[in-house]
Symmetry: C2
Subunit: 359 residues, 2 copies
């Protein structure tokens, strides 16, 4: 790797406050009128690995203001030819599993190997809670200060689809800015794992060893998505439990049909806090990449993800515009009630509402 990092050093060294913060970019951005915003310049800065420009670009992409939409589209389109260069890793796990510590450990391991690492998040609850899981950056103290790391909290938004779109577009900008590894974390609210799974190359489920029955209470479909399950906090007295959990998960994985990737998901243990087992996880991911590059699943999978997002976006938009139609909005609840009480068939009610939409 011979990436130009001169842009970073000009912005301060590791002892200055986190330069990844978007405040500076936000201020600069807010002062500018959209017509002043020079997209070509911004692209040039992003391509020369300027993290402030990257932050500014992502802020533009995340903007909900109509006047920014066209500029954002120009920016994405100009970055797109330089994208698709990274490895995208999805990480999920319930709160308390140690996601931040794990990402910090994995991120630092990768940076030591000469990689540049971006960490994004998909957190559909961030609008409600008013802050994202990555908002508290003190949880990734060392990573946030590294010149080769870029950390960005979850975009906020009303719908998971909207949040996901912004994250996917941000991936493009991060890739154009030279990040080799994009880690996308999600706390797993609603369908957010599915959404993250459909934008990454490798999906990792982080777990703790529990009280014996590891598989109860796991959300439906999560295990099927995992390329690896990692039992974190496997240290000290916990080690025995972690080994038992590993065996249970291994058996559970065996129940699922093999993925078209040709990869057999594995279960590993680690202690992110003590940096044990983290290296092995990266080796595992590299083994995965070897297989899916050779059998061409990697590229095929990305192409299919793109198609999925195209169709998904169309269908979400169709639904949004239908359910926001004033006449439909007004009649929907009473139709649902009638249908629930068997007063009208679902098909007749659907036709009634569809006719309102046309009218």
């Amino acid at each position: 790797m011979a990436k130009d990092t001169s842009q970073h050093s000009s912005q301060g060294d590791a002892s200055t406050p986190p330069k990844n913060t978007t405040n500076k970019a936000l201020e600069r951005f807010k002062k500018q009128q959209p017509k002043e915003l020079d997209i070509s310049l911004l692209v040039e800065q992003i391509l020369s690995h300027d993290t402030t420009a990257l932050s500014q670009g992502i802020t533009l992409v995340e903007s909900t203001q109509a006047k920014h939409a066209e500029k954002a589209q120009q920016l994405i389109n100009q970055c797109l030819p330089h994208a698709n260069t990274s490895i995208r890793i999805g990480i999920t796990g319930v709160p308390g599993v140690g996601k931040s510590t794990f990402i910090e450990a994995l991120g630092n391991t990768l940076i030591k190997k000469g990689k540049k690492v971006a960490v994004l998040a998909v957190d559909p609850s961030s609008t409600i809670s008013g802050g994202s899981i990555l908002g508290d950056k003190t949880r990734m103290e060392t990573l946030v200060r590294s010149k080769d790391a870029f950390i960005r909290p979850s975009p906020s938004g009303k719908s998971l689809g909207g949040v996901a779109q912004k994250t996917r577009e941000s991936i493009i900008l991060c890739e154009a800015a030279g990040y080799d590894i994009i880690i996308i974390e999600t706390v797993g609210v609603g369908q957010s794992e599915t959404v993250v799974h459909s934008m990454v190359d490798f999906f990792l489920l982080l777990k703790l060893a529990g009280a014996g029955d590891e598989l109860q209470g796991i959300k439906r479909g999560i295990i099927e998505m995992a390329d690896a399950i990692v039992i974190n906090k496997a240290d000290g007295d916990n080690r025995k439990h972690a080994r038992e959990a590993r065996n249970q998960f291994k058996k559970a994985l065996h129940l699922y049909p093999q993925s078209p990737s040709g990869w057999l998901p594995e279960v590993l243990m680690c202690s992110a806090l003590h940096n044990e087992g983290v290296e092995e996880i990266w080796e595992l991911i590299e083994r995965y990449l070897d297989i899916v590059t050779q059998n061409q699943y990697f590229e095929q999978h990305r192409a299919e993800q793109n198609t999925y997002w195209l169709l998904q976006t169309i269908e979400e938009q169709l639904k949004t515009s239908f359910y926001n139609h004033p006449a439909v909005k007004k009649a929907l609840q009473s139709q649902i009630e009638a249908v629930r009480q068997h007063k009208i068939t679902p098909f007749a009610a659907a036709q009634f509402l569809l006719d309102l939409n046309k009218g």
Copy 2:
């Protein structure tokens, strides 16, 4: 049960050819002009348990001719207040598992208990294969001749959604015609199990004992839907394997979160051919019904199924009308190609197509 069966006896006794065949109804129906078709009379006949009228009604519902649609809707609307009276049981299993033999054994058991049984099918492949799984009625020899059974092959149709809608509407007619138990079978092509699962009260997965590893090769999500797994052909030398299979499935079921019904799915063995274990399966279903009636899940579940079908139908219609828009149809493939090759983002391509749809 004190159902009026005089309509049946007037049509012949058990030794005459299967009266359930739709040929007669079809001929009568084809001769009639839609304006001549007296829906009130048809409803009256259906409500007085006339199976020929029921067949004719279903043929009307299944018709793809636009001129029949309004009449069909009238018929369904007039039957609707008399519907929702049956227990709906979904049965799935791969070809060779013995579905027809099983349905025949279960149906006969129920008829001996004084029930009237209708058997419908959802077979999305029936258009392709030119015949439905129930087309060959000789596979249910005794059931087809019973005056208390009504057997109807899968409607044909271009989309699974369309096939499912017709089957759901047929359920209403069958219930109005006094059938206590509606069995809906599916061979499990594509998403047909999901579709059947969403229109029944109890979902039964029929399996054979295999060569040891029972869980490999089972379609994703099927086990999660099952209220019972029944291992068929558990007779003779097969008994030992069946017991082993039962234990494996019991363990597998344990892996899934409990259903909101409060019911814990069970695994049973039977030999439909020798009529062993069939009675026990009905007892199991009755136990289920006791639980879900008491905790009100039964009614709540049906209400939710209706809502699901309402929203599902709307969304399918929106998609159908979008993808059939001439400009969209023309541009879709090239947009998918561009998206697959990372030449345009999925979101930009979606917007382009959505704009075509508006124009």
